[in-house]
């Protein structure tokens, strides 16, 4: 069975600074996809970034990037130049199994 573990229930970051959210996973699949989703307070879940496991290159989407370490089964999300709108719950997923989430606060 797949498992996804997020060990940081809460994180905070100063506006314009960089923060990294951690995620580890376990899967028996050889080819798979990993995701980070964002759920703002009382708002819809949206995709942040997607990584294909067979690609060694880390995915990037504007200020969001991942550090994908396949051997270590680690998939962390880095948010650069944090903005107030980044405040949300962030879920790591593989792809139908979700971690417990990390609540990110952005301090002005």
């Amino acid at each position: 069975a797949q498992t996804v573990t997020q060990s940081q229930p809460e994180m905070s970051v100063q506006e314009a600074e960089t923060v990294t959210l951690s995620c580890t996973y376990d899967t028996s699949e050889s080819d798979y996809y990993l995701f980070w989703y964002k759920q703002p307070p009382s708002r819809q879940m949206i995709l942040v970034i997607r990584q294909e496991a067979y690609k060694q290159q880390n995915a990037t989407e504007n200020r969001f990037s991942v550090n994908f370490q396949k051997a270590a089964k680690s998939f962390s999300l880095k948010i650069s130049d944090s903005q107030l709108g980044d405040a949300a719950m962030y879920f790591c997923a593989s792809p139908l199994v979700f971690g417990k989430g990390t609540r990110l606060s952005v301090i002005a």
Binding site: M45, L47, R50, F91, A93, P95, L96
Partner: protein, 114 residues
């Protein structure tokens, strides 16, 4: 990306009753998913609904409690039957879209059972 709507957006129900949640997508999709998100918790997959076949339920979820319909490629319903306060949750539908295995979520149905 797909645009997904859910009805109702929220409801308050009495224990022992049933509620049917509707999920409508603006394009044809093969796979639709139903999740439960208990207050302050992560998402747990209830079942996968493919058009023209029985839904596939995850461990801990049964058809008698959560019957699902999938009459066409743009619509699905989830019924929460014989509700108890433990069923108070947000119920989310999602669809798989592009790129591959990416999920797009509806806004959720917030259910409170008294």
């Amino acid at each position: 990306s797909a645009v997904i709507s859910q009805k109702p957006s929220r409801d308050i129900c009495q224990r022992g009753t049933s509620l049917t949640i509707q999920c409508q997508v603006d394009s044809q999709v093969t796979m639709m998913f139903w999740y439960r998100q208990q207050p302050g918790q992560s998402l747990t997959l209830i079942a996968t609904a493919n058009q023209g076949s029985e839904a596939t339920y995850e461990s801990g979820f049964v058809i008698d409690k959560f019957p699902i319909s999938r009459p066409n490629l743009t619509f699905s319903t989830l019924t929460v039957s014989n509700m108890s306060p433990e069923d108070s949750s947000i119920y989310l539908c999602s669809v798989e879209g592009r790129p591959q295995e990416t999920q797009y979520f509806g806004p959720g149905t917030r259910l409170l059972v008294l």
